[in-house]
């Protein structure tokens, strides 16, 4: 029973992480409809820049984290302006843009490996507090992961509902063509979406750096988990992405009870496969056309 409780708590913690990834990815995919695979390596950029700022430049962690987040947002915007926008202007199909995105994915991931090496980068003198709640163990970083989701989701909800730019993002998510017709500058909204989505994803990236360290390959899992969260929850719904993230985190951890550890990372892919196969609209989402 104690194990089950611990697994559930781990599931909620990982779920918060996945939910944030899902929200960040959804923030980009929703309005732009770009299947942004390079979301993964740009997520990794945040962690690596934060690591470099903290260890090479000796910046305090909070400042280094902000630098990492800013770098991720900038990289996201550049990926849009330099890669996706020209394809959009060319009138390329979604599929062509997706393949180009895969190209950027593999380019960036390996460029990171060349620049930083393949060893795991950790911030050495980091010793998170450990809390014992009855039979359950959690660390302060894990609590941060949960808090980050609550904080960002709250801010994002206020932004999307309350501000003009936020409403423009929602309008474009709903119907891009219509948004353009009523005079929304879709290019600017796309830039904003890439900046915001990449910044949101940078937060879990930095937390993962603190928790486990950074590897060039970390973006691969990140972009897939973002997919899984979005697909499970239903595309076009932020609430869905959060629920989806939690669902995957919990299923993945509870699954450990019965399934050998080496298969853990496969569980999410099997979930993704089954959902796309049987409920392409997601468990909670609106039906897709």
């Amino acid at each position: 029973m104690d194990l089950a409780l611990q697994l559930l708590v781990n599931g909620i913690i990982n779920g918060s992480h996945y939910a944030l990834l899902g929200v960040g990815f959804g923030l980009i995919f929703g309005p732009t409809k770009i299947t942004h695979f390079a979301f993964g390596p740009i997520f990794a950029v945040a962690a690596y820049v934060c690591w470099a700022a903290a260890t090479k430049l000796g910046m305090p962690l909070a400042a280094a984290a902000l630098v990492g987040i800013a770098a991720s947002a900038a990289a996201g915007v550049l990926s849009y302006l330099w890669l996706y926008r020209p394809f959009e202007r060319q009138g390329s199909s979604h599929l062509v843009v997706l393949i180009a995105s895969l190209g950027l994915f593999i380019t960036l991931e390996n460029a990171i490996g060349i620049v930083f090496g393949t060893d795991t980068k950790v911030i050495a003198d980091l010793s998170p507090d450990i809390f014992l709640w009855g039979p359950v163990v959690v660390t302060s970083i894990q609590l941060w992961q949960v808090a980050a989701l609550a904080l960002i989701a709250g801010l994002l909800a206020a932004f999307l509902r309350g501000s003009r730019h936020g409403k423009a993002i929602m309008a474009m998510t709903d119907n891009g063509e219509m948004a353009q017709i009523i005079g929304i500058d879709t290019v600017r909204v796309s830039i904003l979406a890439f900046a915001a989505g990449s910044a949101v994803a940078a937060v879990p990236a930095v937390l993962i750096l603190f928790k486990e360290g950074a590897t060039p390959h970390m973006g691969f899992v990140a972009v897939f988990m973002a997919f899984v969260a979005v697909v499970v929850g239903g595309i076009g719904s932020f609430r869905g992405a959060i629920i989806g993230g939690y669902a995957v985190g919990i299923v993945e951890n509870i699954g450990m009870w019965e399934i050998p550890t080496e298969w853990q990372s496969t569980i999410a892919f099997v979930v993704l496969f089954l959902i796309l196969l049987f409920r392409p609209a997601g468990l909670f989402g609106r039906a897709l056309r």
Partner: protein
Amino acid sequence: MDYLLHILVMVALYAILAGSFNLLIGFSGLFALSHAAFFGVGAYTTAILAVGYGLPFPWPLLAGVVVAGLVGLAIGLPALRVGGEYLVIITLALQVIAVAVMLNWTSLTGGTQGIGNVPRIQVLGTALDTAGRFLPLAVAVAALSLWIAWRLGASPFGRALRAMRENEAAAQAVGKNVVAMKLIVFAVSAGIASIAGALYAHYIAFVSAVSFTIETTIYILAMVILGGTGNLSGSVLGAAILVVLPELLKFVDLPPDIADKLRQVMYGVILIVMLRLRPQGLLPEHDEKRARVPAGLGGDGLATLAPASPADGAVTVEGRGLMKGFGGIVAVQDFAIDLQRGRIIGLIGPNGAGKTTAFNLLTGFLAPDAGTVRVRGEVVSGRAPHRIVRAGMARSFQDLRLFRKMTVLDNVRVALPAQKGDRLLHVYLLPWVVRAEERANLGRAMAVLRFVGLEAKAGELAESLSYAEEKLLVIARLLATGAEVLLFDEPLSGLDPGTMESIFPIVRKLAQQGKTICIIEHNLDVIRGLCDWAVFLDEGRKIAEGTPDTLIADPVLAERYFK
């Protein structure tokens, strides 16, 4: 020297992989990014059978083809339900799962250790243990594999695949069974890819999951995109370039790890640059010279395709009590219609009246909630669209749905009925039958094009036609199905009156030849000028029917129409 020969062996193996991948993504438009998994299935099957059970070449290879074909069918299943980006994601997930199985099913695959000491292939008592000795076999097998792929791509089946790629619904509407086509092409592509895997296992004498990851899939993808989708020579070229090019890095003094990463960066950049600057690849699919059609074809042939029958007014299509609702909204309610041989019937009504839905119900693109459709007395409702086409009723689409990246001729040729070349058995075992049929079909297709006046455009891509010509091609393609009942969804919309007048006689002539024709049309002049009878539909119900003049004169209907 051995090093050069080794590179050539790798070119041969990757040519097989790129060619088979091209069948999926280039010819069929199925972006299933799990090709390295098929490669791996072939390699592992060979390694397991050769090491564990001592089976000699080529048995493990053949077993690998069968296993990979089955895996291909399994991976093809999602393609029946989802397309486009979803297929990409779902197959990438499958690719990851496949590698996880290779890594974790230790008792079978050796886990992270892989399987070593795969025996060399023995030919006449000589072990093919060097690149030089292996090369002739690799080239021969690659040539055979590519021939299999080429034969498929160049056959009528391959033409149908390209039609499916261009527009799936339109492919169904010309009688193609897209479900079967997808499964077949997945199985064939996977089977061919596994051949490369089997050779690889014997050649390297070692298999391990790291060779079959997503990176490998992207590597092969880059070859296909670089060479040109839909062109197998392009894939061979793409494979050659992308095998040789990274080898140049060997001349720069780099740590192996960095060199490997630089290679990956190179593939990524090549993918992006090609898609941006030359998305059709180095060797494009469409070749103007090859597409040119010899003059003087199609003098006859229309008669064999559409034997004139008496325009006797006999009822050929009976729709009864058709119902369709979407969620809470009733789109079509209790709809009944009779279509008659030799008559042109107009389906009119305001926007959203349910006219296109009625067509969808008649032709099987939507399954009716209730009601039946009979064609020549035979109940066809509940059947898949392609089977209704074969039963003799075909339809066109309001939004045309031409096969845009195919030639005008191929748009028509693919629609011709009962092609033996659609079956792999004929394609591979009775090629002369297919060849004879193709010759006859070329004539028939040209006859159809001549009938609508497009014979001069036969060799051009459909996307280069003018709007009026596109509309004519829609008619030609529909006619080519050989169906007796032709349902036209707004065949004349958007045309200027002059062009419209020139199409009238074509439709009338079809009716005189005994076709049963139904037309959805908004333009009342067209209805008046063309139709013998008109059915007025509003809010999913039949409100009235009669001669066009009486319906148009009816003030109540006029008010509904213009509301």
